[in-house]
């Protein structure tokens, strides 16, 4: 997931599956981001031409929704849930433990582009809080210790 499969200039096949109408804009951006991992400026230009809207509107929509990113993410996107249940059961300590273990702050990506660390509003696994997801795979009932173990090992075995 989230790997660069196409360059922004080769988006033709992705765009071609959508009608050339303004209302497909969000779905179009989602498809482009699924292919490229993020929304580079060239790609947003291509989207604007395809949907027949000004670039300003594409940027306006893309910057409104938290799903869209303008910088490439790590190969493993670690998302710490900051939902209410996770908050009251220690999500902050989980996030801080990850920041220490991965050596990056929230919103950053490791230099080798292996990991990026973000928070999400709620994953919806509130019954098993606190939780996080790595590329949509959820781990639950976390403790700082569990997180340390999981990510220390993963970091070591990660390809450099």
């Amino acid at each position: 997931m989230a790997t660069t499969e196409l360059s922004p200039l080769q988006l033709g096949p992705v765009l071609a599956t959508f009608e050339r109408r303004p209302d497909v804009l969000i779905s179009l951006l989602q498809a482009v981001q699924a292919s490229l991992g993020y929304l580079p400026p060239d790609a947003m230009g291509a989207v604007a031409r395809h949907a027949r809207v000004p670039r300003s509107r594409v940027y306006g929509v893309a910057s409104f929704y938290s799903q869209f990113r303008f910088n490439p993410a790590g190969r493993r996107r670690v998302a710490v849930c900051r939902g209410t249940a996770c908050h009251v059961s220690g999500a902050r300590m989980i996030l801080e433990e990850l920041e220490r273990t991965l050596g990056i702050a929230e919103g950053q990506t490791t230099e080798d582009r292996e990991y990026s660390l973000e928070t999400v509003a709620c994953i919806g696994c509130c019954g098993l809080s606190p939780c996080l997801s790595v590329n949509d795979e959820v781990s639950a009932k976390l403790t700082p210790k569990k997180v340390r173990k999981q990510f220390r090992a993963a970091k070591k075995s990660a390809p450099r």
């Binding site: 109408r21 303004p22 209302d23 497909v24 804009l25 969000i26 779905s27 951006l29 989602q30 949907a51 306006g60 929509v61 409104f64 929704y65 938290s66 799903q67 869209f68 900051r82 939902g83 209410t84 249940a85 996770c86 908050h87 009251v88 059961s89 300590m93 801080e96 433990e97 220490r100 999400v120 509003a121 709620c122 994953i123 919806g124 696994c125 509130c126 019954g127 098993l128 809080s129 939780c131 949509d136 795979e137 959820v138 781990s139 639950a140 009932k141 403790t143 700082p144 210790k145």
Partner: protein, 626 residues
């Protein structure tokens, strides 16, 4: 709808009966998102492997979420001539023991949770008699964790689309009348009467009308809709088709959060299967009367749960609300009359038509009929997805169903309604959960999130948490919300960081009321609720922060300090090794010491001490260490 529906239904029922009585044992595993996060897919793989090792022929069925999240992964075994047994917390070892049991071995008692169905096992309770299930009435959730949501035959066998069949026999007025008698109110939070909303849409002029299912479950701490979409998607589709039939729409949209990939996948499968059977498509509502459903993926904006913002998002724009009226029932998607209902509301519609309005209204209170699903979470012993009759008290939910507060801690507060709701203290726990009672107490029903907190949660910090969320999610269109929530957050940050004054508390109240009065949409008008409700019930905590410079919950980092209990410390060096700032000194077997000057209050030492020797104290109470 197809002409041979009854025949299809009959064969589905027969296949369902065969499933339980056939020669092959049926093993179900709850693989909804919650089950998966607890390792259900590994459990399923282990079960398959172990069964193959014994040379056992089994039928494995992936089902949705049964509700007791704390007991995931849940596995049930159904075998002709035996009681159906439900196993909890099934890990690799559990999978082996279950396979041994299937091969003729003993029932692995340590994993047994309950039995299901008529046959019993001595000493094992029936599922509905277990403490968590006892007070529940499962109607909307009746298929969750029971059927394979990716197999329409299971849904049909359990009655799906029978409500649609009934609705097709009625006239438009009779359909509205059924809904009105049922007393069904919107389950998304506002509680608007469903029959009235639909009647407005019928009356609204226009040939093109739309049905929209709001599956943008954005409240942090709530997952009722996710579980329902993952566990019983056809219930939602059926409700949408009945809505289309009633108001005269040919198209429906489901606006579902992108954060719910499995729900999106299951919806896609369910729609495909319904199309194959002709339940959706060119003749869905009768010959030549089409109805189609499309799924639109949200892109991560809480405000899109507000109906006019949701419409803007469906149209490919920034999800910003607009003033109402006109209401969407008159002018909605593309300016056409549009019904927007929540997932749970729509899932109730089919049930009402199938079983009758009176059946539905037999539970509930005078003004709030039926049952409601809730996500019971936080510091509670048995968190999970529950469904209770409206009018059940919060105390029954938290203490009887949820088992009270987890660990040795004391109950402090319960929060309902997500970021739009409020916090209630112990004294308010006996109020019945219905739309009006909760509102009178200073909170709202909301979509159904119930977050339990013990004494370790600071109520000022908790209000700050929600305002942080509101500031992030405010769309920015109207000033009171955009600027007001930002100011509320700054003041709350001051108070939690030791910079607050007594005047700040009054300012919070005044500002909160003004934001409620001046904001455009539901997000702004309810965003101050977490502040105002905590001020109403937990004012002393605010006062403690600003006047005596203490945080009674020992949660706000600027007020606390960590200290080693010299009698309890064994000098094991674990905390010293883990301290990220190397702020703990002490040789092995010697009492350790925390250097207050470098301590960042991360809590790692306190969290990792096996002897409870790291104490949390208010900094003003800090005793000089010897």
């Amino acid at each position: 709808m197809m002409s041979d529906f009854e025949q299809v239904q009959q064969s589905a029922r027969e296949a369902w009966e065969d499933l339980g009585t056939g020669g092959v044992p049926v093993v179900t595993v709850g693989t909804a998102t919650c089950g998966r996060s607890a390792g259900a897919l590994n459990t399923l793989a282990s079960l398959r492997e172990e069964a193959a090792g014994h040379g056992l022929a089994c039928r494995f069925v992936e089902v949705g979420c049964l509700g007791p999240c704390y007991a995931e992964p849940l596995v049930t075994v159904q075998r002709a001539g035996d009681a159906t047994v439900c196993f909890a917390a099934v890990d690799k070892l559990g999978a082996r023991k279950i396979a041994d049991y299937l091969a003729g071995g003993e029932l692995p008692g340590e994993y047994v949770f309950a039995t299901m169905g008529a046959a019993r096992v001595p000493g094992v309770p029936d599922l509905m008699e277990t403490p968590m299930m006892k007070g529940q009435v499962r109607r909307v959730l009746r298929n969750c964790g029971v059927i394979d949501p990716a197999d329409i035959q299971h849904s049909l066998a359990r009655g799906a689309y029978a409500g649609l069949q009934r609705a097709l026999e009625l006239g438009p007025e009779e359909r509205i009348e059924v809904l009105e008698r049922s007393g069904l109110r919107g389950r998304g939070g506002a509680g608007f009467g469903v029959s009235r909303k639909w009647a407005f849409c019928i009356e609204a002029p226009g040939d093109t009308k739309y049905v929209v299912c709001n599956a943008d479950e954005g409240d942090p701490g709530a997952f009722m809709n996710r579980s329902l979409l993952e566990g019983d998607p056809h219930a939602v589709l059926e409700g949408m088709i009945i809505a289309g039939l009633t108001v005269g729409a040919a198209e429906g949209y489901i606006y579902c959060r992108a954060e719910y990939p499995l729900a999106l996948e299951r919806l896609g499968v369910a729609i495909g299967q319904a199309e194959e059977l002709g339940l959706l498509g060119p003749d869905a509502l009768g010959p030549g009367r089409p109805f189609r459903i499309r799924v639109k993926e949200g892109a991560g904006a809480f405000v899109c749960g507000e109906e006019t913002a949701l419409i803007a998002s469906l149209e490919g724009r920034r999800g910003m609300p607009r003033p109402r009226p006109p209401f969407p029932a008159v002018s909605g998607l593309w300016g056409c009359p549009t019904i927007i209902n929540n997932v749970e509301t729509l899932a109730s519609v089919g049930l009402i038509f199938r079983n009758g309005a009176d059946w539905y209204a037999e539970y509930g209170t005078e003004s709030s009929k039926g049952t409601k699903t809730f996500a019971l979470v936080g510091n509670v012993l048995r968190p999970g997805l529950v469904e209770v009759p409206l009018g059940t008290t919060l105390r029954q939910m938290i203490f009887d169903i949820g088992g009270g507060v987890s660990g040795k801690h004391r109950f402090k507060a319960v929060q309902t309604g997500g970021p739009s709701g409020g916090c209630l203290p112990e004294e308010q726990l006996d109020i019945p959960v219905d739309y009006e009672s909760l509102q009178a107490a200073g909170t709202i029903m909301g979509s159904g999130g119930i977050v339990v907190m013990d004494e370790r949660t600071c109520m000022v910090d908790f209000a700050r948490y929600f305002l942080d969320f509101a500031v992030d999610e405010s769309c920015g269109k109207c000033g009171p919300c955009r600027l007001g929530t930002w100011q509320l957050l700054r003041i709350l940050e001051d108070i939690t960081q030791g910079k607050g004054t007594a005047a700040d508390i009054d300012l919070l109240e005044e500002l909160g009321h003004n934001i409620m009065r001046g904001s455009l949409c539901g997000l702004g008008t309810s965003a101050p609720n977490p502040v105002l409700s905590t001020l109403r019930y937990f004012r002393d905590e605010y006062v403690a922060h600003v006047e005596s410079q203490t945080c009674p919950a020992l949660a706000c980092r600027d007020y606390i300090a960590y200290q080693i209990d010299v009698d309890a410390c064994t000098g094991c060096t674990v905390c010293a090794g883990l301290c990220p700032v190397e702020g703990i000194s002490g040789a092995r077997k010697d009492v350790h010491h925390i250097d207050e000057a470098v301590c960042t209050k991360c809590g790692v030492c306190s969290n990792s001490c096996a002897f409870g020797a790291v104490l949390t104290v208010n900094r003003v109470d800090l005793e000089p260490q010897t």
